[in-house]
């Protein structure tokens, strides 16, 4: 396993664009901290985001993992190009001739996917910890380390997404087209949802039930949007007579679905590679 990782690390560490995008990605995660400094005045009301409780433990785990997950598209570019480059440089062929098996090749890529997801999770953990310790109203150990399942969900979400990118990279063989395919797939899921929700099964939950099995929907179900959970939003809603009772917890079902997709994408990458003549 270590050998596979060191092979892949060698390929990435000298690749300038991969390096730049990765660094930008991790810098952007730390920039979540900048949200704290958002401050504006409406009339005579002074509004500071940091005071709204977004950095309170344990809510911060939910908020930060949700925000950081948006940035994953940057690493997706790195993953897709590290796959498709092997085709365009024809180095995949050379790797195999040099004695790497097809299974080892896919594993080396998957180990890298795991590595990126793990590193990013660790990063989010550290950034949240620092932000939380500086701004949170509650600092009891028990509260700080509650709701950590958001970090697990974040990790699984990234792993699933990157495994999808890896598969697309092998399937399409060209970075730009693979990213395009990703966007098309996302639109496809939205259209299917729209059709089911407002055309075929109006007024039922069938659309949500079916769509939860689609990869991108399952990934987004892992960490639900945190905004309506904020105190200010909740009280504003109740004044308008709207009840925002919603379950924000990390569900077991989306977790399992994304894990299943991760397995499928990795397996399909291997199966595709095995079947192809290079």
């Amino acid at each position: 396993m270590l050998r596979l990782f060191s092979i892949e690390f060698q390929k990435l560490k000298y690749n300038r664009s991969a390096k730049v995008i990765s660094i930008v990605y991790f810098l952007l995660i730390t920039f979540i901290a900048l949200i704290a400094s958002i401050e504006f005045d409406i009339g005579n009301i002074n509004f500071r985001v940091a005071d709204q409780g977004i950095f309170n433990f344990p809510f911060i785990w939910h908020f930060n993992t949700y925000m950081a997950a948006i940035l994953k598209i940057f690493l997706a570019i790195v993953i897709v190009s590290m796959m498709s480059n092997e085709y365009s440089y024809r180095t995949l062929k050379q790797n195999l001739i040099d004695g790497l098996s097809k299974r080892e090749f896919v594993l080396s890529k998957f180990v890298t996917v795991l590595g990126f997801a793990l590193l990013s999770t660790l990063f989010v953990f550290i950034v949240s910890m620092i932000l939380g310790l500086s701004f949170s109203d509650y600092n009891e150990i028990g509260i700080i380390f509650s709701d950590l399942d958001y970090l697990l969900a974040y990790f699984v979400k990234l792993m699933g997404f990157f495994a999808f990118c890896m598969f697309l990279g092998i399937l399409v063989k060209r970075s730009a087209f693979a990213i395009g395919f990703l966007v098309v797939w996302w639109i496809f899921e939205s259209i299917v949802y729209g059709l089911l929700k407002w055309q075929f099964f109006k007024g039922t939950d069938i659309a949500d039930t079916v769509l939860q099995f689609f990869p991108l929907t399952a990934m987004s179900n892992l960490i639900k949007e945190p905004f309506t959970r904020l105190g200010a939003v909740q009280s504003a809603a109740s004044q308008l007579g709207e009840n925002l009772a919603k379950n924000y917890d990390v569900g077991m079902i989306p977790l399992l679905i994304v894990l299943a997709w991760t397995f499928l994408f990795t397996y399909w990458s291997y199966a595709l590679l095995k079947r192809r003549d290079l």
Partner: protein, 299 residues
């Protein structure tokens, strides 16, 4: 003798086209093999199959004694296919380090092999700045990193300028002299003739001949002759039992031998009959002539 590679009834179909048809041959240690065949005869496909990048349709092959899987065996093989493939953003040393990691050998031989192919002073330049000839030489260095049991070269001089071709040939000769088994696929016959001891001739995916270069030539060679008295010479040749057919090409007469005979014996014989030869060369058919003959017979 130790067997390095065994092919048994190997076939490959690309849709309706059969690129390799029931191919069988073995590669023994210490010989230099040439795979000959016109473009599209299945040379690269065959090499692709045994190198794990093309899936076979039927048949089987195994490396060495067949006790280990193909990718494990390939770590003891050095191979270059068609054109050199490396990561353009890495320099020569970085690229070779990667190959060492894949082959699970130490990086200690990188400088030695770069020296052998004459790239030592450019070892820190990025691969993308190399000329085609340099890229091909780097590929050879890369294939030699593990001191392979066998070196496989597929059209190593394709697309190179005369100087590049010469350099690559010199390197191949050096490697062959060191006793490494070589398998060289080429459609350039003189290239194969210069270095190979054994040949496999392919045509449309079928093997026409497998064996040593001498064995390919069943005849005893021929004399190319010239004499002022051509008519007398021809008469004499027709009477001689050792001579088979005679061919006339301008002033030159080509006489094919039925049984072994050396040039001086022949010369003495002619002299005793009063025929003075102004030109006498004993030759064997060149690989090209043999190749054309073998492929012609079957078309």
């Amino acid at each position: 003798m130790q067997t390095i590679l065994t092919l048994d009834n190997l076939s490959k179909n690309f849709g309706p086209i059969q690129a390799v048809k029931n191919l069988s041959f073995t590669i023994e240690k210490g010989n230099v093999y040439g795979i000959l065949g016109p473009n599209g005869s299945g040379k690269s496909t065959t090499l692709g199959i045994v190198l794990n990048v093309v899936n076979k349709t039927s048949g089987s092959y195994h490396w060495f004694d067949g006790s280990e899987g193909t990718h494990q065996a390939l770590k003891k093989v050095g191979a270059i296919i068609e054109r050199p493939n490396f990561y353009p953003y890495m320099n020569a040393v970085q690229n070779l380090e990667l190959v060492c990691k894949i082959k699970e050998v130490t990086t200690s031989k990188i400088d030695e092999k770069l020296e052998l192919v004459g790239l030592l002073e450019r070892k820190l330049s990025k691969f993308k700045t190399y000329s085609l000839g340099m890229k091909q030489r780097l590929a050879i260095a890369s294939a030699l990193l593990n001191d392979p049991e066998i070196l496989i070269l597929d059209e190593p001089t394709n697309g190179l300028d005369p100087q590049g071709i010469h350099q690559i040939r010199e390197i191949i000769k050096k490697i062959a002299a060191s006793g490494t088994t070589i398998l060289l696929a080429s459609h350039l016959l003189d290239e194969v003739e210069k270095v190979c001891t054994h040949v496999v001739i392919l045509r449309k995916g079928e093997s026409l001949y497998t064996g040593s270069v001498e064995g390919m030539n069943a005849s005893h060679g021929f004399f190319v002759l010239q004499s002022r008295n051509t008519i007398r010479l021809k008469e004499e040749l027709e009477r001689n039992a050792a001579i088979g057919s005679i061919k006339e090409d301008g002033d030159l007469i080509t006489a094919y031998l039925n049984e072994p005979m050396d040039a001086s014996t022949f010369n003495e014989e002619m002299h005793s009959k009063g025929i003075v030869l102004s030109h006498l060369v004993k030759r064997k058919e060149s690989l090209e002539e043999l190749f054309l003959e073998i492929t012609k017979n079957l078309s």
